[in-house]
Amino acid sequence: MKLLKMGVACAVALTALTSVAEAKQLKIGVTLYGLKAEFMQLWAAAVKTSPAVKNGMVEVTVFDGRYDPLVQQEQFATMISQKFDAIIFAPIDADAGATAVQMAHDAGIPVVGTNTRANSKLLASYVGSDDVLSGYLEAKAVLTKIGCKGNVVIIDGPIGISAQIQRSEGNKKALAECPNVKILEEKTANWSRAEAQALMENWLTRYPKQIDGVIGQNDEMALGAIEAIKSQGLKVSDFVIAGIDGITDALLAVKAGEMTSILQDARAQAMGSLDVAAKLADPSYKPQADIWAQYPEMPFSDGKLQNYSVPWTPVTADNVDRLLAFRSK
């Protein structure tokens, strides 16, 4: 069904295009902070399947920032010297990212942020999801289920990166609304499932029968906590566990009733930022992704907005099958 829709969309786009096929192909570069985790892989795969890329209007090149701000800066230099028309940027570090944005700005190339925001006023636009909100939503989901009382543990992302800082802020905001809930421990597991598993095993030893809720700042770590609980012979149903991102394994765990996840829509971020970047590079460009119809609360507005907030989708038993079906394509 979806395929059919996309096929039709492509066909329509192609016919519309034949007249302007001779027009200059836009060259858009993307540098993502790193391609090791599933979320960024989904993002990169999605941007390459954007309608504008498929019909040849835009040529997109994705660079792997390898979790290193300097690598990303060099990729900016490359894109500037090769005269890219626009750059899409998910920096590993918000402040180091500002330097790169400045470089592109000086060369007259618009930069659209996505997923993680560079700390720069020169960013032409930003298409991403509000991490403070996701931190709030996941903590709220846990706190509501444990009845706003009891003990929780928080598994942080890598300390100091913007997603961790903002998700922590959101976690704390929700926790402040439940003053009777005690935070037993808060520690990083660096987004890693294996690390979170060991950490949770140790906490279960340290706080036998005391932990009611687990707030994992991403799905990987929440899944690690679930494995730890299982490995100790405890029942996952005695814990309320939440994560963020909506990776495939987490969707499966939601389906099994083991956790809650908040889906971050990689596809919408990718296709949305591509449309905005193309519009900035060529004022005659028309947005082509179906995501603008999918999220009426996020209108395209001629690509003029400073901020496009891609909504979070709480994953529930009701929508998980649909989301999984979409993923397996």
């Binding site: 294996a194 690690g224 397996s328």
Partner: protein, 340 residues
């Protein structure tokens, strides 16, 4: 130490030297075990949860993957080489093995799930292949192992990403996950696997001719060569061993986490090498034991576990581990100077 001082007071000088020498030998030989016992003693006083059966089993299970990796890397380091590729092999073997044992119709290879035994075999063969490539380049073309395995670290990680387009391989069959999640006689299976790998390695290194050759090649390759040892084939073989153990560790990690993950095993080589070095194996080869490696692994695991139990900031864990590595190498260097 106190005992040494006493003997100095009461004995003639010649014997004193001998006595101190004996004490130094004991300290160097058993220093790491002493350090381990002291660490455990301190932690059991500081945390009431440390010496519980459940926690001890946790620590052993948590050390199983690094332990298996470190034992394999010990073989390489004993010959004077290094293997930096093991963390990436963990990911590649883990994910390819997983793709044979998944019930997911999209993530697996055609016809999956296959029996767990086949998935495990495939994972081990993947490790063996990577090890064979590294070993051959090191042994045959005399390229420094640091460079070869550094290259493999990157290439093998790239292969892992290519294999699944960066996606994880979820929904592994219960029979495959058995080795990571089950217990036998109340003891988690990963611990048995670690002990099994340890026992075989200990036997090979201490009781077989091949084991003695490994030490000989590491201690003095020229002498080993003139005494008729095929240095090249010994060198190649240790990377194959390290590849297989890394493959096993990767399969175990997939079984434990329930998914083949592309980002699995990142920087695991560093923990493995740390365990080997802390365990007293010399980076210049020829000296060391897998027993030391096992204790080194346990020290790292106990420290991580203890600091979690005490609620200490995780940044301290990295800091302390670093100090321990430097300290262990310091002891090794002083030992080498003495030998000269």
């Amino acid at each position: 130490m106190v005992n040494v001082d006493q003997s100095e007071d009461s004995a003639p000088t010649g014997i004193v030297r001998q006595n101190t020498a004996i004490w130094r030998v004991i300290l160097k030989k058993y220093g790491i075990i002493t350090a381990f016992i002291v660490l455990c003693a301190v932690l059991s006083v500081m945390s009431p949860y440390f010496l519980t059966t459940q926690n001890i089993l946790n620590v052993l299970r948590q050390s199983s993957i690094n332990g298996i990796l470190a034992i394999g890397v010990s073989f390489v380091i004993l010959t004077g080489g290094i293997d930096l590729s093991v963390g990436s092999v963990v990911a590649l073997a883990g994910i390819i093995g997983a793709s044979f044992a998944t019930t997911s119709p999209v993530a697996g290879i055609a016809g999956a799930p296959y029996p767990a035994v086949l998935a495990i075999l495939v994972g081990l063969v993947v490790g063996l292949c990577v090890g064979t490539v590294s070993g051959t380049v090191v042994a045959r073309f005399k390229v420094p192992s640091f460079v070869v395995t550094l290259g493999m670290l990157s290439s093998v990680r790239g292969l892992t990403m290519l294999y699944t387009d960066g996606k994880p391989v979820p929904s592994l069959t219960p029979s495959f996950r058995w080795m990571g999640t089950s217990t036998v006689l109340g003891i988690p299976v990963p611990i048995f696997i670690l002990l099994f790998v340890f026992a075989i390695s200990w036997w090979v290194l201490t009781k077989t001719r091949y084991g003695r050759y490994i030490y000989a090649v590491g201690g003095n390759p020229r002498a080993a060569s003139t005494s008729g040892i095929n240095v090249r084939s010994i060198r190649r073989s240790v990377y194959m061993i390290s590849g297989v153990t890394a493959g096993l560790a990767g399969l175990l990690l997939s079984a434990r986490t329930g998914s083949g993950l592309t980002q699995a095993g990142i920087s695991y080589e560093l923990d493995a090498i740390a365990a080997v070095v802390i365990g007293g194996t010399s980076l210049s080869g020829g000296v060391g034991s897998v027993t030391g490696t096992l204790v080194g692994t346990l020290i790292i695991a106990v420290m991580n576990n203890g600091l979690d139990l005490l609620g200490v900031d995780s940044n301290y864990q990295q800091f302390i581990k670093g100090l321990m590595i430097v300290f262990a190498v310091l002891i090794d260097t002083s030992r080498q100077k003495e030998a000269e």
